[in-house]
């Protein structure tokens, strides 16, 4: 398509004994936030780094901004910005110096002040990198990825390891970039992150794309139901739920999880509990997470518990 800035066709990457990327095909359109969602080891980093020209594919075709990654490395690097996974920089440079250094590598006269402003680091500009918190470090990394005013920005797990507060701050920065109309390729293993930021999501597992679509499509399809866990409920919770046509799971220690089709059904259910004089200790409502989606899509539970947040 004319508007595709990244196009990947039948991409395969084999390490010694691992098929890390196993024949994937997708495209990213200009100006969209594209999220690559998947657990650790799914092949996200391998894929982005092949697109960024810093790893070689085993087979398949990858083009970015209309150029073949195998042939136009120098030209491509000038026009993309990269926040690598687990970004880190020189400990004893200040924020300002770090940005100037990377700008010098691109030989551009970029406006450092504007970048500092964009990632909201004004009060930290004279601080040494080593003295910054994890969230600030990531914001420096995002600013660094912008020194050459790139057309496409790759953010590989930009919020992994951050506390919720810092994560939200990074999200704000990414939303700012989105407003500027940049194309963003985001990888993450947080469902919520993809949901908040992305226009389009591809879910990757074991080197294969197992689901994809616009964010709303995917959520409507797979994340519409709501899970309600009732703890310490008295007799009859399960049978009441089943009577109302809601599937139940995990009846142990007096805990029971009920799947509701939406918020209205939850309200109905809670009213029914009251009407039937059923009491309980606590109640927990949440959307299904990536792990549960994987269970549905692949029939396999994820081994990595980190994915469940």
């Amino acid at each position: 398509m004319a508007d595709d800035v990244i196009s990947v066709k039948d991409l395969v990457k084999v390490y010694d004994d691992v098929r890390a990327v196993d024949g994937i095909t997708f495209a990213v359109e200009k100006g969209e936030v594209f999220a690559f969602l998947g657990p650790n080891g799914a092949g996200k980093t391998t894929t982005v780094e092949i697109i960024e020209t810093i790893r070689d594919a085993t087979s398949g075709e990858v083009s970015i901004l209309g150029m073949d990654v195998k042939k136009n490395r120098t030209e491509i690097l000038k026009r993309i910005g990269v926040l690598p996974q687990e970004f880190s920089s020189f400990d004893r440079l200040t924020v300002e110096e770090t940005l100037k250094y990377y700008a010098a590598l691109f030989c551009t006269d970029c406006d450092i002040n504007k970048l500092i402003d964009l990632v909201n680091l004004e009060e930290h500009r004279k601080k040494l990198y080593i003295n910054l918190s994890g969230g600030l470090k990531q914001r420096v990394g995002i600013a660094v990825s912008l020194v050459n005013d790139p057309e496409i920005i790759f953010l590989d797990e930009p919020t992994t390891g951050l506390d919720p507060r810092a994560r939200h701050d990074v999200w704000e920065v990414i939303k700012g970039l989105k407003k500027e109309g940049k194309t963003i390729f985001l990888t993450t293993h947080y469902m919520e992150e993809a949901e908040v930021l992305a226009d389009y999501i591809a879910i990757i597992s074991k080197g294969k794309i197992i689901a994809y679509g616009t964010t709303t499509e995917l959520i409507d399809k797979h994340f519409k139901t709501v899970k309600v866990t009732i703890k310490g409920g008295t007799e009859g919770v399960g049978s009441l739920a089943e009577k109302m046509g809601m599937p139940t799971q995990g009846r142990d220690n007096g805990n029971i999880t009920i799947e509701a089709s939406g918020n209205e059904q939850i309200v109905e259910f809670l009213n029914a509990l009251k009407a039937n004089n059923i009491s309980y200790l606590s109640m927990d409502i949440r959307k299904p997470n990536l792990e549960e989606l994987f269970l549905v899509l692949t029939g396999e539970a994820l081994i990595d518990k980190r994915v469940t947040q």
Partner: protein, 369 residues
């Protein structure tokens, strides 16, 4: 090759270095401590202080008066030398640092001078070790004693002249021997460990991966690293020379050859460091590999011991170690000025350094596999 990028990198390395107090300490303290340690263990300060060898070929009244005057200073422990041996022979055979020769006819010359001020001076000859500061001190004391004698004799006219004959000792003092060795070793260790340490640290932190996504080329990166290592090597060389010259009477020749050997040493060992980090990705193993390269070099290539003291097979082995040629070359450049050794060593280490560095450049790449 873009100079702006090379400079940007160099500046980053220098900033990182200058802001890390512990690195500054270790980079500078290590060579200084080694110099102090070996300087104090091996320096012969004290062993010959005060001994003045005199050969009195005259045996007349004035010569005895002069010997008496030297004894009278209390500074010298005067030892008389057998008059049947040639002074040069005695000087060379006995490993002494100063020999005052009173020629036959000395007393007569003084008489003549007293009678006729126009007659020639009575000449003394002093053989001494030029390269030893301790000897320089002795010379100046001897000079002032002779001045005193002159004044006593006449008030103004010099009755006694001195013919100073500086001797280049071919038996170097230990400081002359080990200072170049310590420079070679520090340059080797700072280039090797500096390169290995920087590369593994930056790889672990993912900085190399980030750099791979910028237009910085591998060659620019390596060049800036080498320049940085050269700076560090010159810094430690300056420290070593300062300690050696300031405290142990080291008087090296500081010339272009010395810098050539330091530069070639940086290239060789930074190159080895690059190769190690190319093949050993894990930080601790890379350190271990660097140690495995460094220790045999340190002990077997004549840094601390003269190779002649070692068994034959070790002497042969030493000739296969690059550091041997840096040691030999630096010693020749700084002390003996033996140009054939300078040339031969420069050729060997120059070839080695070029090959290793080229391999390092060719085999390392930004890309992960």
């Amino acid at each position: 090759m873009n100079v702006k990028r090379v400079i940007a990198n160099l500046v980053v390395h220098l900033k990182q270095f200058s802001r890390e107090k512990s690195t500054i300490f270790f980079v500078l303290a290590f060579p200084i401590l080694l110099m102090l340690l070996f300087g104090f263990i091996f320096s012969d300060v004290g062993s010959s202080v005060g001994t003045l060898y005199i050969q009195d070929l005259d045996g007349g009244a004035y010569s005895q008066g002069l010997v008496g005057a030297f004894n009278g200073t209390g500074v010298f422990d005067v030892t008389m030398v057998d008059t049947n041996i040639s002074p040069d022979q005695y000087y060379a055979d006995n490993n002494i640092d100063i020999l005052l020769v009173i020629p036959a006819g000395y007393s007569d010359s003084i008489y003549m001078k007293l009678l006729d001020p126009a007659s020639p001076e009575a000449n003394l000859t002093i053989l001494y070790d030029q390269s030893n500061t301790n000897t320089q001190t002795k010379i100046s004391i001897v000079g002032s004693v002779i001045d005193g004698m002159n004044k006593e004799l006449s008030g103004s006219v010099n009755y006694i002249g001195v013919d100073l004959q500086g001797q280049q000792s071919d038996e170097f003092k230990f400081i002359d021997f080990f200072a170049p060795g310590i420079i070679a070793m520090s340059v080797m260790s700072s280039s090797l460990f500096g390169t290995v340490g920087m590369n593994t640290e930056l790889r672990q932190k993912g900085i190399l991966r980030k750099l791979a996504t910028t237009p910085l080329t591998r060659a620019e990166w390596l060049l800036s690293n080498i320049l940085y290592q050269m700076f560090m090597s010159l810094l430690s060389t300056v420290c070593i020379l300062a300690v050696g010259m300031g405290m142990f009477g080291l008087r090296p020749h500081i010339n272009i050859y010395m810098f050539v050997f330091i530069l070639l040493c940086v290239f060789s060992f930074a190159g080895i460091g690059m190769l190690i980090t190319r093949f050993v990705k894990e930080a601790e193993s890379a350190q271990a590999a660097a140690n495995a390269v460094m220790f045999p070099m340190m002990f077997l290539s004549g840094t601390f011991f003269q190779l002649e003291m070692m068994p034959d097979f070790l002497q042969t082995l030493a000739r296969f170690l690059p550091l041997y040629y840096v040691n030999e070359g630096l010693r020749a450049a700084m002390i003996s000025l033996d140009y054939s050794i300078i040339l031969e060593s420069a050729l060997v280490i120059g070839t080695f350094g070029t090959v290793v560095f080229m391999l390092g450049v060719m085999l390392t790449s930004w890309k992960e596999n």
